[in-house]
């Protein structure tokens, strides 16, 4: 099935990167993929987001209107994107930063304390990987192994040592949702 996911948060939270990893991994699995970011340096500060499509067949429109999943990293993103997710879709909320509960009842929503988990690993910057891990666990959009392969290929030499912590982050993210049940839906 075609996966259409939106990843949204503050700039600096690794939002665009998480999306790219997903797309790369899809490519590696010979799937069709597309990645599209919000853009415009004219908007200083504020939120960043990107949409990713991973699909077994030709992607007609790379523009996602109703994502099948949303990974939201902060409150403004929740407010903006909750309403967009298609009924029956997935909503992953970084509960460390977002105190609010989702409003819609027709979604599968999960609270993932991504920052907390990342912090516990000593690397606040892998919060994005925690969320990605959770998402992959729920959708199998691509395999975690593919994501790791991509990381291996793209991380610069001197950052290679971060591979294990990234893997761990994904696994912990997966664990969180494996144990939880969705709110709503």
């Amino acid at each position: 099935m075609q996966q259409e996911v939106i990843v949204a948060g503050f700039g600096g939270q690794g939002i665009l990167l998480a999306g790219q990893l997903l797309a790369y991994a899809g490519l590696m699995e010979n799937k069709e993929v597309a990645w599209f970011p919000s853009y415009g340096p004219e908007m200083r500060g504020g939120t960043a987001n990107c949409t990713v499509i991973v699909s077994p067949r030709r992607i007609s429109s790379p523009v996602v209107e109703e994502p099948s999943a949303a990974l939201v990293f902060n409150l403004p993103s929740l407010l903006k994107f909750e309403s967009k997710v298609k009924p029956g879709g997935l909503l992953l909320i970084n509960s460390t930063l977002v105190e609010r509960q989702p409003e819609r009842k027709d979604l599968y929503a999960y609270l993932v304390p991504a920052n907390e988990v990342a912090q516990s690993l000593g690397h606040i910057r892998v919060a994005n990987m925690v969320m990605l891990g959770a998402y992959l666990e729920l959708t199998r959009a691509v395999s975690m192994a593919s994501v790791l392969k991509v990381l291996e290929k793209t991380l610069p030499e001197q950052s290679r040592y971060l591979l294990p912590v990234n893997q761990k982050a994904m696994e912990l993210g997966a664990q969180v949702v494996r144990r939880a049940t969705a709110i709503g839906a």
Binding site: P41, M43, R44, G45
Partner: protein, 247 residues
């Protein structure tokens, strides 16, 4: 207790959209303070450039026009010719004034157009995400000179104040900086002079303000001030390059 420092009256209440530590905020305020002190808020028309400060009109509570990239001096000319008794100023970045708008600023100065240019030189294209500007220093790295600006192929940074000072129509030209409180005070004095020169009808006036773009320089705001002082000032010396008023 008296209030010795507060928001100038010529400013709106709107929060700036600028990055943390961006000098545009300081310079906006200085312009507003000068307008307040000269009591010209209702007689002043400003021109916003295309650059990070395009939204200047959201912050200054005065009549304003928005120019096409680089053309602010032409707009100012049009306005001033129609309304010679108003105060007309442009606010322009270094890409705007020193690159695409070179002809317009040179000729506004050559004509002795009785307007004031507030020239914010941060040695980079801020709004478009940090490309090289004509004012980018030799060796400075930007998104289009990632390995540092090479003068051999990308040319030499341009000193607009010195260049414009050669023109007979230029009445007041000075370069200041905003990297510490003492210089901010001086910058304000220079702006005041420039506006007074216009009020007296002496001709073209410009203040070049060396300023920071922490985001695109890839530095923390406080580091940026230091970088400005240590790198920009040696190449862009501060001072008055022209003063017909002679004060």
């Amino acid at each position: 207790m008296d209030v010795v420092f507060a928001r100038p009256k010529s400013m709106t209440q709107q929060k700036f959209h600028y990055c943390p530590g961006c000098s545009h905020g300081i310079i906006h305020r200085l312009v507003a303070e000068v307008i307040d002190e000269m009591e010209i808020r209702e007689d002043t028309i400003g021109i916003a450039p295309v650059g990070c400060s395009v939204l200047l009109y959201n912050y200054l509570d005065i009549d304003m026009q928005e120019a096409a990239h680089g053309r602010a001096p032409a707009l100012a000319t049009g306005i001033k010719r129609v309304l010679p008794d108003r105060i007309v100023f442009t606010y322009q970045g270094d890409g705007d004034l020193a690159s695409i708008g070179t002809a317009e600023i040179v000729h506004a100065a050559a004509r002795g157009e009785n307007i004031t240019a507030v020239f914010v030189n941060n040695a980079i294209y801020g709004m478009t995400g940090g490309q090289m500007a004509p004012t980018t220093l030799a060796g400075q790295s930007t998104t289009t000179s990632k390995t540092g600006r090479k003068t051999q192929t990308a040319g030499f940074p341009i000193r607009m104040s010195e260049m414009l000072a050669t023109l007979d129509g230029a009445a007041y030209i000075s370069r200041v900086s905003v990297h510490n409180p003492a210089h901010v005070t001086k910058a304000k004095k220079a702006l005041r002079k420039a506006f007074e020169v216009q009020k007296q009808g002496l001709g073209f006036s410009m203040v070049e303000l060396l300023s920071t773009c922490p985001t695109n320089w890839g530095l923390k705001p406080t580091e940026s001030l230091k970088w400005l002082e240590e790198n920009m000032i040696p190449y862009y010396p501060l001072g008055e390059f022209k003063n017909k008023q002679g004060v």
